[in-house]
């Protein structure tokens, strides 16, 4: 350290000493907030534990859909293999009974997605971004599988799944609790009336198409 550096450091310390000291922390207020935040997180955690089996079930659904779609594609392989393969959504006609499992899977998927979209802001704000992102990632995989399945033959469901894919990808990519990023995602979800559309889709039930609704 040069003489000049020493003089500056001394000068700096004099200035720092004149700076206002740190006020007393409002200990009781902070403690009350800590307890409140911990209570909230505990209830969030129990909510996640309750959702846990659904996530596991979702992964099961994903596996089933992969297998089903894969088999469907194998069985519907066009004779000329050089021609582009049509999406299964435009595949052969299926009976109502054959469609029912896909519709049921779609309904359950939409119900779980609605649960995510309803609570993810609060979850992220309480520091559970990683869990939320992972949950959104699982739902995103299922959404993509459903888009490629006969469940997406209904144009309304196809549009809904397409929009969901975008929003779930946004949530799956969340890395912190950036308020602006959350506001942006939430605005785009609201612009697309996602919750209303999800509720309408799940309210009609899996047999809606069969009943001709």
């Amino acid at each position: 350290m040069t003489k000049d550096d020493e003089k500056f450091t001394e000068f700096l310390h004099e200035l720092l000493e004149e700076m206002p000291d740190v006020p007393e922390p409002p200990r009781e207020e902070i403690w009350a907030r800590i307890e409140e935040a911990r209570r909230e997180r505990r209830s969030q955690a129990s909510l996640f534990r309750r959702r846990g089996p659904l996530i596991g079930w979702g992964l099961g659904l994903a596996a089933t859909l992969v297998l089903g779609i894969g088999l469907g594609r194998m069985l519907n392989q066009p004779e000329d293999s050089t021609r582009p393969v049509a999406r299964t959504t435009r595949g052969p006609t299926m009976s109502d009974a054959e469609m029912l499992p896909y519709r049921l899977a779609a309904q359950q998927h939409l119900t779980r997605t609605e649960a995510l979209l309803t609570g993810y802001v609060r979850d992220v704000q309480s520091g559970r971004t990683r869990e939320v992102a992972s949950w959104a990632q699982d739902l995103l995989i299922n959404t993509r599988l459903l888009r490629d399945s006969p469940a997406a033959r209904d144009p309304e469901t196809a549009r809904l799944l397409e929009d969901l894919e975008l929003h779930l990808a946004q949530i799956a990519n969340l890395s912190g609790s950036d308020a602006d990023e959350l506001v942006m995602i939430q605005q785009s979800i609201e612009r697309n009336n996602m919750l209303l559309r999800l509720r309408a889709a799940t309210a009609s039930g899996p047999a809606a198409g069969i009943r001709g609704e």
Binding site: D4, D5, K7, F8, T9, E10, F11, L12, H13, L15, L16, E18, M19, P20, V22, P23, P25, P26, R27, E29, I30, W31, R33, I34, A37, R38, R41, G127, G176, S177, D178, A179, D180
Partner: protein, 187 residues
Amino acid sequence: MSTGPGLDEKLLIRRVLAGDASAERELYDQHVDRVYRLCYRMANGDADLAQDFTQESFVRAFDRLGDFRGEAALSTWLHSIAVSVALNGMRNVKRHRERETELDGVREMGSATRHAEPDLKQRLRGAIEALPERYKVVFVMYDVEGYTHEEIGRVLDMPAGTSKARLSRARAKLREALAEFAGEWAT
């Protein structure tokens, strides 16, 4: 700050982990003042932010206390959580303020007035705020809050020599920022 938890501290941690609410409060009372001081300094003297950061630091600490291995003192572990919370929090605040400034800039175009030249202390405060975070945290801990380089090294998980080098860099940057007041320390 010692290098490892003492017997009392180990017992206190065990009680907290066993769900003893009074032990949680005891742990909080023992550490809140220094955690708050650190958060307050890292938040550039914003008391509201300091409270937010302190709250979040303790919430995280209680959540993760089971992961505390006892290789360092509990205070070291707590302060490293506080530094991490404060740095992340300040990054968010900075991003938010930058956006607000952009908007204000648009609104105030054409009506901008020249502010009075800030005095030396204001300039110093601004210069500390503007330090890159790796220098700022070392400067705040060493020059403002009186931690040793060894303590800083343990909190930030780096060698004490790195802390010394960063402090030196921080002071050099402050000196550059205060260059126009050079007459005051050179005399």
